[in-house]
Symmetry: C2
Subunit: 326 residues, 2 copies
């Protein structure tokens, strides 16, 4: 537990959801970019809002806690804290507990690398730390999913889970929630964010509600191959399994130069990759840093050629998830 | 290489395809039941059929090699041998090579535990042994799939692969063929074969060609969970992942007492299970032999109660696949 009115610092990593073939179930955290947050636990008056959001970036995200993803996640946490821990609350936690949250968003909203998940996950990990860790990681994922619901209309955990757990995570089931940490070999990650807007809700609405059984069979072969490849540390198997015959053919239409980029990156040595979450960012996995840098060069070349503003990251898988720095 | 006209003995294990959630991609071999076969390499006259099938069981399966699954698999092998190894053929292999095959089918045809796969796989592993092993296991799977095509109309490898490789196998892709051996913890297997007929082709034809995306997502969560559970040796995760929301709800209608049986077996301690291949056999996985026996007792009780003739097996996963016993 941290005493009231004492600020803590939080680092909340960007995340890559879906991991090509694992739509809505797989994701991983990266070491760069990440959001910086500060939080303190406070006592509120009965007529005050429990959560106060202070944005110290220039994105003008909502500060009304019910409309802010970190706020929505914290409100869920505070409600459940009152229900489950009213009688066992330690002396240092006020009766009418609240949180002040400063968010310095370094992960650009709408870029497709879990910007909203970082805010939601960072906030609930921070609050749990301030409260003396009464909640499990699974609880925290549940709370943070309220932020995702606000952002995209759907309670999905494929960004939240790796953001909180770190590494590669599998969301085997949402109801009941079950998250499985998957071991992985060292992987270098190259991300390009072409500066176009793809709304998560739009990227979801274009998906077909039905898929061909024969495509589903291909997809689950690749998912099983990817999980086996990660656990066996078999880079070639990972690469061969990074194929998506269901979501990518539909969504990639929204991203200029997608097919050409993928071909160029693989030619430069990438194991494989695809759309990060619902896009527009594209990620590629590589075995070594040099390859990851060569892949970055291809990304820059392609989007410079298309005259499209873009930003790139060369990073690695983040194994720690959200970190509290006291 | 084995000299011409010298008989070898072969044991070809039964296999459980699909493994509940892994339709068309997962399967495993069991130690009981298994087919016994004998084979010899012979020289044929140009006007003779290359393969001669001798059934020493009472099932009256076709002996015309083009209509027999072992025959179809061997014809494919002999054709490719002629193409690839014509110039490098060792002295002991005749120019016009053929095989005599005696099959003692102990795996009842149509029982859903890979009876046709055992014949096809046993025959090609035996032939490869007689020829001095010119072919890889992947080649042998390819040849044996011709037998499956004859039996069910579809070239699927989910019985063939575990029959040849042993253990639990993943068919990540059929074209190009890629088989991955998955490590698994010790698992006890209980199988019940209710004596009703379910034709593989019928069990396939009732499947819907389209599935809901939301069901596919549940399914791939379970597949990823099952692969992770096997590799982590996490029995509870294996159990939770043995759920099929796509195929089982359709196919289980063909099997009397299916739902009640599943509930009773799980209550007796089974981790989980479901339809073996396209049925009618049902398999259950358990952590220990005692549980597997308790599960068998439930199966016998239920089918005795229904007045339905049945046969049960309590066995373990076969790690060796087809064995040649000289």
């Amino acid at each position: 537990m941290v005493p009231m009115n004492q600020w803590i610092k939080i680092k909340a990593p960007a995340t890559v959801a879906n991991m090509v073939c694992g739509f809505d179930i797989l994701g991983f955290a990266v070491n760069n970019p990440y959001d910086e947050m500060e939080m303190q636990m406070v006592e509120r008056l009965p007529n005050e809002a429990s959560v106060k959001i202070i944005n110290i970036d220039h994105y003008n995200l909502p500060t009304d806690p019910e409309k802010n993803v970190a706020g929505a996640a914290l409100i869920a946490l505070i409600e459940e804290y009152a229900e489950r821990f009213a009688s066992t609350r330690p002396a240092g936690v006020p009766n009418n507990v609240g949180f002040d949250v400063k968010i310095n968003k370094l992960i650009k909203p709408g870029s497709g690398v879990g910007s909203s998940a970082a805010s939601s996950a960072g906030a609930v990990v921070g609050a749990n730390h301030l409260l003396g860790k009464p909640f499990s990681n699974d609880d925290l994922v549940r709370f943070a999913m309220n932020g995702e619901k606000l952002a995209s209309g759907v309670k999905h955990a494929d960004n939240i889970a790796p953001c909180i757990f770190g590494g590669v995570t599998l969301v085997r089931s949402i109801f009941p929630l079950e998250i499985i940490a998957l071991p992985s070999p060292e992987l270098h990650v190259t991300i390009v964010h072409p500066q176009i807007e793809v709304k998560t809700s739009d990227a979801r609405s274009i998906l077909k509600h039905q898929v061909l059984l024969k495509d589903a069979i291909k997809q689950w072969g690749n998912i099983a191959g990817l999980v086996a490849g990660l656990m066996k540390k078999d880079y070639d198997l990972i690469g061969r399994s990074l194929e998506d015959v269901i979501i990518e053919p539909v969504r990639s239409i929204l991203i200029p130069g997608f097919d050409a980029l993928k071909i160029a990156c693989k030619k430069a040595g990438a194991l494989g990759g695809g759309i990060s979450g619902s896009g527009p960012s594209i990620f590629m996995l590589s075995k070594g840093k040099e390859t990851a840098l060569a892949v970055e060069a291809e990304m820059i070349k392609l989007y410079t050629g298309l005259g499209l503003a873009h930003h790139t990251y060369v990073t690695t898988i983040n194994e720690k998830g959200v970190e509290v720095i006291n």
